[in-house]
């Protein structure tokens, strides 16, 4: 006898029908999912009062080295040039490793907390008292593509929704005319695994990130040059007229009116998005503070994207993924933080691009009060080895230890959570996972990560898979 005879009756409204009507468009709001019987949220609501309303996630792809940026390891200086005890013949992603290698840069105490971070990041150093570092993160992959996907979706396989898509699905948008989730790729290109990083996975398509950046407007947003404004307007009016008639002939099919509404939303977005992306409307002093006038075009490009991120957050975009650097290239570490062979040259190229604009963005958000209800995440896919790669001045991939951080709404600034061993080889204290990281993010958004679920191909899927604990110690 099969258990639960009561579920033999199919629901009156089927799951698919639900999805079709769930949040037509920008206001994409997850309706309580039938399979997720424990969901107690109201549509668009939270499980409990939130601390943060929106999220800015800054992603430095290529595995930005924890021990050269955030995680100070004096023992590396002391034992520089000596073998890593117990792992003398260790093979990592690219193969053989040499001896321990100290960071080429000093770590200097910053802020009231005296937190030591790399002298390569002088501007962010001024903000350490706003930041909660998680030094004990671990990844499930030592490869960039799956690592990035894991950091963004909680799975190393493609096809799962990114954190931004989950939040869009759970909370919807806070405005009527902009997307709920945007991704801002770097001027140097897309991150490893490209669009899978901001995919909706199996969530409805409206939860995928809309891609926009200072170098790349929203695709297909603009009215075609060959169509005049009045013709465009008249076309929409005729279309609405025909669609209304069609809907009247098919009374009761609400999807038809949802589509009429979607065209109206699209028209509003055509006005709102260019306004939001118009950086020239910002005072020159602000543009300069971000570094938009920098002679280095890569820094100026990232600076523009930082300012763009703030303007979209301000206008009610729920989740912004901002990338600093891009994919793997023909020369390791050239286009992103993947310093396999020439760490010194690579990070002296990347850090000045990243430091000033990011710090300006945080300071600006703080000044405008945005930080009080915006959660800021800084993430990368994994860490790097404390040794140098054999025959090089760079470091290989290290999935056993890396640092990410949070700042802003609900975060206890000036804290450091967890720790790596004396060399930064492995997380050893309060070992944390990407699941814990996102359990905490969802918690701050008022969502219980175990109750935010979506049925797909045999499982009630979660952003945190079947893991995750909220990192209470970093909460204010």
């Amino acid at each position: 006898m099969a258990p639960e005879a009561d579920t033999l009756e199919p629901p009156l409204v089927d799951r698919r029908g639900f999805l079709q009507h769930a949040g037509t468009g920008l206001l994409g709001v997850a309706l309580t999912h039938l399979a997720a019987a424990s969901e107690t949220r109201q549509p668009g609501g939270t499980h409990f009062p939130p601390k943060a309303k929106r999220v800015l996630q800054i992603f430095c792809p290529g595995a930005a080295s924890h021990i050269d940026l955030w995680d100070h390891k004096p023992a590396l200086e002391k034992y520089h040039g000596q073998p890593l005890p117990g792992e003398e013949n260790f093979l990592s992603f690219q193969g053989k490793n040499g001896n321990l290698m100290k960071s080429p840069w000093a770590f200097v105490p910053q802020g009231r907390s005296g937190k030591r971070i790399s002298s390569l990041l002088p501007e962010l150093g001024k903000l350490v008292d706003e930041i909660a570092f998680v030094h004990s993160l671990t990844s499930r992959s030592n490869t960039h593509g799956p690592g990035c996907i894991f950091m963004n979706t909680g799975f190393v396989r493609e096809g799962f929704p990114s954190a931004g898509a989950w939040v869009s699905h759970a909370l919807g948008s806070m405005n009527d005319d902009l997307p709920s989730y945007i991704a801002i790729p770097d001027i140097r290109g897309e991150p490893p695994n490209g669009k899978a990083n901001w995919s909706n996975g199996f969530l409805p398509a409206q939860h995928q990130a809309v891609v926009i950046s200072a170098q790349q407007p929203i695709r297909n947003l603009a009215r075609p040059a060959s169509v005049s404004a009045s013709e465009d307007q008249a076309t929409r009016e005729l279309l609405t007229r025909l669609d209304r008639r069609h809907a009247a002939q098919h009374a009761g099919d609400s999807e038809l009116s949802a589509r009429i509404a979607a065209y109206q939303l699209a028209a509003r977005m055509q006005l709102a998005a260019p306004e939001a992306s118009d950086l020239s409307s910002e005072p020159t002093a602000v543009q300069r503070r971000y570094g938009m006038d920098d002679p280095n075009p890569l820094k100026a490009g990232y600076a523009r994207n930082c300012l763009l991120a703030r303007r979209f957050l301000e206008r009610g975009v729920r989740y912004v993924s901002l990338y600093c650097a891009s994919r793997a290239s023909g020369v390791d570490g050239l286009l992103n933080w993947d310093a396999h062979k020439t760490l010194k040259a690579d990070y002296e190229r990347h850090c000045p691009i990243f430091d000033g604009p990011t710090a300006a963005l945080l300071a600006d958000m703080q000044q405008r009060g945005l930080l009080s209800d915006t959660l800021v995440l800084w993430t990368t896919e994994f860490g790097r080895m404390p040794t140098h790669q054999a025959g090089t001045g760079g470091r290989d991939h290290n999935p056993d230890a890396f640092t990410c951080w949070m700042a802003g709404a609900g975060i206890k600034g000036g804290t450091s959570y967890g720790a790596t061993d004396e060399f930064g080889r492995r997380a050893v204290e309060k070992v944390a996972t990407v699941y814990d990281f996102y359990a905490t993010v969802l918690h701050l958004l008022g969502l219980d990560h175990e109750r935010l679920t979506f049925y797909h191909n045999g499982s009630n899927r979660r952003l945190t898979d079947v893991h995750g604990h909220v990192l209470h110690e970093i909460l204010a």
């Binding site: 258990p3 033999l8 199919p10 799951r15 698919r16 920008l26 399979a35 019987a37 424990s38 990592s92 671990t138 030592n142 490869t143 396989r157 493609e158 096809g159 001027i187 140097r188 290109g189 695994n193 409805p204 398509a205 929203i218 695709r219 060959s226 169509v227 008249a234 005729l238 025909l242 669609d243 098919h250 009761g252 099919d253 999807e255 589509r259 979607a262 699209a266 793997a328 290239s329 023909g330 020369v331 010194k344 040259a345 025959g391 090089t392 001045g393 999935p399 997380a427 050893v428 309060k430 070992v431 996972t433 175990e450 191909n457 045999g458 009630n460 079947v466 893991h467 604990h469 209470h472």
Partner: protein, 996 residues
């Protein structure tokens, strides 16, 4: 706070750090992943242990009975979920005798004969605070149950050594989808409308409607019906002529004739093949970080289309998918089936870390296991990778039996040709290859001879080699002052010092040119007006990435990544220069490829060049360089001429070889021995091998039919063949049930089971179980052919009824799952694009062959897919022929929910979003098609007849004629903005996009 130990597959890092029992409770409490409501613990005494895994231990038979009858069920149902070998929470494994005696991080959980020292008892007995700490979920054990455990421990805690406990799944072997197909007869028609009494399908559906006090709609009008069934079977709109023909066809079997015509159309395979490609996650790029495009998987897409058109029996299709190479060796049309195994995403980045590499291989096989089990069985076997399936009766052993079955499969391409084709090609090649060999031999002989001669004179020749070898970190050349506006480096050979073969490309991070001033100044700097030129590797998405500008940027950082032999520096003005300094990596922390043989030349006008320095008086960098120099030094003019001749002849014969057409190489996978023994990976971790497994059928289904079990060293192909034949054995219910449901789904929009690849506990139950079984039987009766069953379905009244909405019926059944109406739907992404092309008169009906691209494919180490702004006529084919790459966003298709094959998509959703509106209104495709559509209207309705044009437009889109006032408004619009603008509106309209 105590934290869970992440089990990421690497060595476990944490020592035990137990504080108190409170922490233990806290920790375990949080470790159970599932919502409470999903956990319906079933104390199914006796159900869990089938005799197969019991090993009676004669010595303590008396005690063992107690354990197996009373204690084992308790442990299985209440403990093993969290404390198994694969997932030992708190380090404790209560699934086996050894684990229980070993205990967890708190020490021994069971001390035989000593209940007082047994930690397990402390945990399940309520303490001062009332509730016992374990089990963390569900009700505490009853006093009687605790007593059983205590007495069992006191009596010596006997436990047969080989008895491993499993958590009982929520669904047992009696789960609805696992039991044999019922012999359901169509119910008596009773009070059904007359038209509904004929077809067994209608009787099944009709009786359910009556039960729910629902009634069906009348039959749809003919215009609606032909539009519906044409889209359903072909994915295309009917032409106005076809519509008119059907509307006016007074023959009694007009509809049957229509259906038969459609089922015979070659477009049927394009539509239904596309459905199938969704189910089996067919994609044409490798996925993951590199995501390289796969340009030779299209033969499989064509094979699927052909198979559907030919109505190939489904059981045969399955066997070809899993073992086409075995049953069809040298028959490309059968061998191509195994693309199924390798058309999923996989990680090919190449990982030197052996632990990671093993995990990646396991992930690759996992994709095959899931794809197979979900597509053909509708079972989420993948959930049993780390532990027994929590919901369905699938053991971890079952998963690894499939792992053993697929262990020899690797992704990749292989030559696929008939024996005759192979032989014919070899015959053409043989004489050419002989000639090639003859020339190569002569060349090596001559070179060896020269080398020997040179070696004999090495002492003399090498006297010139006075200076040290060039270094990758610094090369300096001083020379007599020379006037120069231009300076160039010509690279004759490159090296990586000791690396063979030398890299073809090389790097220069800085090239400095010093003038004769005092102190000398570097005049080759962009900042003083110099310019650098040189061929370089190109990254299309970031043009500057490898450019020669890096050689004059004043920084020893990013290098010029050269793809040609020359770097040319143009100085701001003529200078007197006397020294150049360059390097591949001045920081000297990593050896990049560098110029090993080179010359430096200067010029005043950019035409006449004067050599000022070269590497020829330096020590050679490598043995290759040494050999080349020695040969060069002793070669006579005649020898030089002969070598050049040989070179030319070799080129000729190589060109002739290249002209012999290659045999087709297709993405069908490669098969290696994949030899055992095979083991379970505890917790899914290849570093934690568990018990041995063999290629075998799933134990789940062993109760209801045939089984197979092969030795671990059975030939690889035989394992796959055995699995395939077992999957489609008609004595097993799942394959037929799952496929029949898919057919229903693609006709009605939703299956009788609306989780088409999950017939397990978390999936849905069928709305019409008897109908589903009837359809499954019928499928087998039709010899697994799909078309006859589809024909029966679309001929039913359930299918032919109108889609009219009725509020009262909708209150009972909003999703129309009981079919009181035909459920209307939105066109799929492909249908939409194909329709826009078809009504504009631009659809290119060519079938098959390599796909067209709606993106630009860029590759620079990794792949990037950039959507096309202005797709040309080569893209005007049916969307099924689009090159289906992963992680690519394709205008129109992606917005309208076309998946990217990252995972299987057994059913698509149909979303509504403003991005759809933006794309469909503003993309160049719409504008182009609006223009073509308008041209067609002028052509077909007459150039100066706006009313006829508008009417023709409506006919072509399959819409009803406009009401008079709408037509008036349309005519006014056409008058003011032109016909293309009207077409643009129409291509965006709901009447085009929705089907009822």
């Amino acid at each position: 706070m105590t934290k869970s130990i992440p089990s990421y597959g690497r060595a476990r890092l944490l020592p035990s750090r137990w504080g108190s029992r409170i922490q233990l409770l806290d920790w375990l409490g949080r470790s159970l992943a599932l919502p409470k409501s999903m956990i319906r613990t079933r104390l199914a005494l006796g159900l869990l242990a089938s005799a197969a895994w019991m090993m009676p231990a004669a010595a303590d038979a008396a005690d063992a009975v107690d354990f197996q009858r009373h204690v084992a069920p308790l442990l299985s149902a209440r403990c093993v979920s969290c404390h198994s070998a694969g997932q030992p929470k708190g380090g404790l494994d209560l699934s086996s005798r050894a684990g229980a005696l070993r205990g967890g991080e708190n020490g021994a959980s069971i001390v035989p004969g000593r209940p007082a020292e047994s930690w397990l008892l402390d945990m399940i007995v309520s303490g001062d605070k009332g509730r016992p700490e374990m089990p963390a979920k569900g009700e505490p054990l009853s006093a009687a149950e605790v007593k059983l455990v205590r007495e069992w421990i006191a009596a010596g805690a006997s436990w047969p050594e080989k008895l491993v406990l499993h958590e009982p799944a929520k669904a047992g072997a009696d789960w609805w989808s696992l039991v044999p197909l019922a012999k359901a007869e169509p119910p008596a028609p009773g009070s059904l409308p007359a038209a509904w009494k004929q077809s067994p399908i209608d009787r099944f559906v009709g009786v359910k409607l009556i039960e729910r006090h629902l009634s069906p709609n009348p039959e749809a009008d003919r215009r609606t019906l032909i539009r519906r069934v044409t889209y359903d079977l072909l994915g295309l709109p009917p032409t106005p002529k076809e519509t008119a023909g059907f509307v006016h066809d007074s023959r009694p079997d007009a509809y049957e004739r229509l259906v038969d015509r459609l089922l015979a159309s070659p477009h049927y395979g394009e539509q239904w093949g596309r459905h199938w490609l969704d189910v089996i996650r067919f994609g044409e790029s490798r996925g993951f970080e590199r995501n390289q495009i796969v340009t030779n998987a299209w033969p499989f897409r064509d094979y699927v289309i052909r198979s559907f058109n030919d109505d190939k029996p489904f059981d045969q299709l399955v066997v070809e998918h899993l073992a086409g190479d075995v049953i069809g060796k040298d028959r490309p049309e059968v061998e191509v089936g195994t693309t199924f195994l390798v058309c999923g995403a996989y990680d090919d980045v190449g990982n030197k870390d052996p632990v990671a590499a093993a995990q990646i291989r396991a992930n690759t096989l996992d994709d095959m296991i899931r794809a197979t089990a979900e597509a053909f069985l509708g079972l989420t076997v993948g959930c049993a990778r780390c532990h027994d399936h929590k919901f369905d009766p699938i053991r971890q052993d079952d998963y690894y039996s499939l792992y053993a079955t697929f262990a020899g499969v690797t992704h990749g391409e292989r030559t696929v040709a008939t024996a005759a084709a192979r032989q014919a090609r070899q015959q053409r090649l043989a004489p050419l290859e002989r000639e090639q060999q003859r020339l190569t031999d002569e060349k090596s002989r001559l070179e060896e001879e020269l080398f020997a001669r040179g070696t004999a004179r090495e002492a003399e020749i090498s006297q010139r080699w006075k200076r040290p070898t060039p270094m990758y970190s610094l090369i300096e050349e001083s020379f007599a002052p020379a006037k120069a506006r231009y300076v160039r480096l010509v690279v004759e050979a490159t090296s990586r010092m000791g690396h063979k073969p030398a890299s073809k490309s090389y790097d220069i991070d800085e090239f400095e040119v010093f003038n004769a001033a005092e102190p000398p100044q570097n005049v080759a700097l962009a900042s003083v007006g110099a310019k650098a030129a040189g061929a370089h590797r190109v990254a299309e998405d970031f043009a500057e990435a490898y450019g020669p500008q890096f050689t004059i940027d004043g920084k020893y950082a990013s290098p010029w990544n050269a793809s040609g032999p020359e770097l040319k520096i143009t100085l701001a003005r003529e200078e007197v220069v006397r020294r150049v300094v360059f390097s591949s990596n001045r920081n000297a922390d990593f050896m990049r490829a560098f110029p090993a043989e080179y010359r430096v030349e200067v010029s005043r006008d950019g035409h006449a060049w004067t050599k000022v320095a070269d590497s020829h008086d330096r020590q050679p960098v490598s043995q290759d360089d040494r050999r080349r120099r020695l040969i060069e030094a002793v070669m006579t003019a005649a020898e030089r001429q002969r070598l050049a001749e040989i070179g030319r002849e070799l080129k000729t014969v190589e060109a002739a070889i290249a002209k012999v057409p290659a045999l087709p190489t297709w993405w069908v996978g490669n098969f290696t021995k994949g030899a055992g023994p095979f083991r379970v990976f505890l917790g899914g971790d290849p570093q934690r091998p568990g018990g041995e497994v063999q290629p075998a059928s799933l134990s789940t289904l062993s109760g209801s039919g045939p089984t197979f079990r092969l030795p671990a060293d059975a030939p690889e192909g035989q394992r796959r063949l055995a699995l395939a034949r077992w999957l489609v054995d008609p004595r097993l219910p799942l394959a037929a049930r799952v496929m029949a449901n898919r057919l229903w789904q693609f006709h009605f929009g939703t299956g009788l089971v609306d989780t088409p690849s999950d017939f397990g506990y978390l999936g849905s139950r069928p709305t019409h179980p008897e109908l589903l079984d009837w359809l499954a039987r019928r499928l087998i009766e039709h010899g697994w052919r799909l078309k006859p069953l589809s024909r029966e379905i679309v001929l039913s009244q359930a299918y032919r009824q109108a889609g009219t909405h009725r509020a009262q019926a909708a209150r009972v059944d909003a999703g129309s799952r009981y079919l009181w109406r035909f459920p209307p739907r939105r066109l799929s992404a492909e249908e939409l694009r194909d329709t826009v092309l078809a009504v504009s008169g631009k659809l290119d009906p060519r079938m098959g062959g390599p796909g067209f691209l709606l993106y630009r494919y860029l590759q620079d180490n990794v792949a990037t897919y950039v959507p096309l702004d202005a797709p040309g006529p080569e893209t005007y084919r049916r969307a099924v022929y689009h090159h289906f790459a992963r992680a690519s966003r394709v205008d129109l298709l992606s917005e309208f929910d076309c998946p990217d094959a990252a995972q299987a998509t057994p059913s698509r959703v149909a979303t509504t979003s403003p991005l759809q509106a933006l794309t469909l209104l503003n993309h160049r495709f719409t504008l182009d098609m609006s223009r073509f559509f308008a041209e067609r209207l002028r052509r077909e309705a007459g150039p100066d007849k706006p009313r006829e044009q508008v009417r023709r437009a409506l006919e072509l889109t399959g819409a009803r004629p406009l009401e008079a006032d709408d037509e008036q408004a349309s005519l006014a619009f056409v008058e003011q903005y032109g016909l293309p603008a009207f077409c643009r509106a129409l291509l965006n309209s709901n009447q085009l996009l929705y089907l009822d």
